[in-house]
């Protein structure tokens, strides 16, 4: 994309560009020559100031440099603030799912798992000839890669008008394409192919993402039904006491470790939680109903994660917020197809190992623009973009744990909230 600059000058950027081409000099040199005639103490603008403003105009991406403000009426009594405000935006896919690049226009992302079949040793005697044998096996795993396409189209008259005021309409539309692609990437990485068929239903054979893996690929612990020791009275994170929270997370961390033989290279290093649960866990740590503000539940849990990690020579588990895991009614501002609020629709948490060795997706072809062409049939300037995106390939099924929030708030039995049980 060519740079567009606009700054306060008696001539337009395109004039300078055309002049530079005609004289076969650089744009910098052209601007310098044009401004030089003002290098006169009697002139209002000095060359130094003009060049400084010109270079700052090139560097700045947030200023209203593309001339779009010229579409709006204003007079000499109007102060224009040329700092362009943009919408808030956040994507989470690339933050929580490892990605590798390369491959081009392909259809399948395939990987291999190797397992040596270990055996016990057989006793040997002086003349024996019986030996236990080992083996080595390979398993392939695959994930589909789909092409997606986006495009921009500017009617020819609109393009001519934009050129008149040096408004970079192509650039503005390109930004929309870039953000659209980022949202699409979030969908592939987080929920796989959900939504492609027009529904929010996860089909049995549908490729999945990080937050909606099928049972078996992810181990799903439903706080409403799973039995912990000690047994839970409160089955929602929002109402759990600190001992209950530690019983849940300690059990889940330990069971995760059992699945990976407590190998530090596979132990979990991230617990993804919806913002609602993060907020609830910021409540003071307490044994029964309420406690003093010594530390929050989150502080206490974080400390215990650190203790467990040291005990197993494993990495520390980082607790991070992912809005897609909140109950759908609380997840505003995002496409609902990205929501996965667990078995009881009260929120999901994910304990997993963020590591491309364990699970990663492939972007076979990152967003690639085609040529900017004139479409005579539609009388418009067009540019299409294409990308090839794969869904996450989980090499270790069972090594992602979903801990789904319980269904109901349970009465603790302390009606007068005095810390004692109900009589």
């Amino acid at each position: 994309m060519s740079k567009v600059i606009k700054y306060t000058s008696p001539y337009k950027f395109k004039d300078a560009q055309e002049g530079a081409k005609t004289r076969n000099i650089t744009l910098d040199e052209m601007v310098y020559n044009l401004e030089r005639r003002f290098d006169d103490p009697r002139a209002e603008v000095s060359l130094t100031d003009a060049m400084k403003e010109y270079h700052s105009a090139i560097k700045s991406e947030t200023k209203f440099q593309d001339g779009a403000e010229e579409q709006f009426a204003y007079n000499g009594y109007t102060m224009l603030d040329l700092n362009l405000r943009r919408p808030a935006y956040r994507a989470f896919g690339l933050q929580h799912m490892p990605v590798i690049y390369g491959g081009g226009a392909v259809e399948t992302d395939k990987g291999f798992f190797f397992r040596p079949t270990t055996r016990g040793g057989r006793l040997a005697s002086g003349e024996n000839n019986k030996v236990n044998l080992v083996n080595a096996n390979y398993e392939t795993l695959e994930a589909p890669i789909l092409p997606i396409t986006l495009g921009l189209s500017i009617g020819i008259i609109n393009q001519l008008k934009a050129d008149t005021i040096s408004f970079d309409v192509i650039g503005a539309n390109h930004e929309a394409v870039r953000l659209s692609y980022s949202i699409e990437l979030d969908k592939f990485l987080m929920v796989g192919h959900r939504g492609i068929d027009g529904t929010n239903v996860d089909g049995a054979s549908m490729a999945r993402g990080l937050i909606n893996l099928k049972e078996g690929d992810a181990i799903i612990s439903d706080l409403e039904t799973k039995v912990y020791s000690p047994a839970l009275v409160n089955k929602k994170f929002e109402t759990m006491t600190t001992p209950e929270l530690i019983a849940v997370m300690g059990t889940e961390y330990r069971e995760f470790g059992q699945e990976v033989a407590y190998d530090g290279n596979f132990m979990p290093n991230k617990w993804l939680v919806g913002p609602k649960v993060i907020a609830a866990l910021s409540a003071p740590a307490h044994i029964t109903v309420a406690g003093t503000v010594y530390q929050s539940q989150l502080d206490y849990l974080t400390a215990q994660f650190r203790v467990w990690a040291r005990a197993f020579e494993a990495p520390e588990v980082y607790i991070q917020a992912l809005p897609y895991l909140d109950p759908v009614a609380d997840m505003t501002g995002f496409d609902t197809v990205l929501n996965e609020d667990g078995t009881n629709d009260t929120g999901r948490t994910i304990l997993y190992r963020q590591d491309p060795y364990v699970m990663r997706a492939r972007i076979a072809l990152d967003l690639t623009p085609g040529a900017l062409v004139f479409d005579a049939a539609n009388n418009a300037v067009r540019r299409n973009y294409v990308a090839f995106i794969g869904t996450p390939l989980l090499f270790y099924p069972g090594q992602v744990r979903y801990i789904d929030n319980g269904a109901d708030v349970v009465d603790s039995g302390d009606d007068d909230d005095d810390g004692g049980s109900q009589t």
Binding site: P116, T117, T118, N129, N137, T140, G398
Partner: protein, 182 residues
């Protein structure tokens, strides 16, 4: 495929021992009598399956899927896991060879004096010491799958016993067990 054994995922740790896939050797003592087998009926053949030997020529054993009317202990053979190319693009573990592919498989005739132990697919829980039977395809006893039950739906593979309890070598519920010559 997956007629006699449904493959799940391989175990993701190596700490658990003896998770041997159907058709793999588990121990060696003395010689083994293993011949190349040529599937003659166009059926798929899976590693760890019990097949029926219909003849032998200068090239190979002629084998086919077990038939209830003709299978006997003398005609039975065990299919050993070989290295073959997966004929269908799929994910998972290679299960055997597709019917009609021109690939010989390794077969150990049940009648041979064989000193090597190996794993096979079983259709029910078995214990070490149980007699090996093959299903005849009736009343839930699948053709080519090993059982411990003596009934009109199975045929005894005389001279062969299970040498281990049954186990699940992959994440599916399908079972395998070691067998050896008595």
């Amino acid at each position: 495929m997956a007629r006699i054994f449904e493959y799940g995922n391989l175990a993701r740790t190596s700490n658990k021992t003896d998770l041997v896939l159907p058709g793999e050797f588990v121990d060696a003592q003395g010689v083994r009598f293993a011949e190349a087998g040529w599937m003659t009926d166009g059926n798929d053949v899976e590693f760890g399956e019990i097949v029926e030997i219909t003849g032998r020529n200068g090239k190979a054993l002629q084998i086919k899927r077990v038939a209830a009317a003709t299978i006997t202990a003398a005609r039975a053979g065990f299919v050993i896991r070989d290295i073959v190319g997966g004929r269908v693009i799929q994910q998972g573990v290679i299960e055997g060879i597709k019917g009609g592919t021109h690939v010989p498989v390794t077969v150990i005739p049940a009648s041979s004096a064989n000193g090597w132990g190996f794993a096979i697919a079983v259709g029910e829980a078995v214990a070490a010491g149980d007699q090996v039977y093959v299903g005849k395809g009736t009343n839930g006893k699948k053709l080519g799958v090993a059982y411990k039950t003596n009934s009109s739906d199975t045929v005894a593979i005389t001279g062969w016993k299970f040498t281990s309890a049954s186990y699940k070598p992959t994440s599916s519920d399908s079972l395998a067990a070691f067998v050896g010559k008595e």
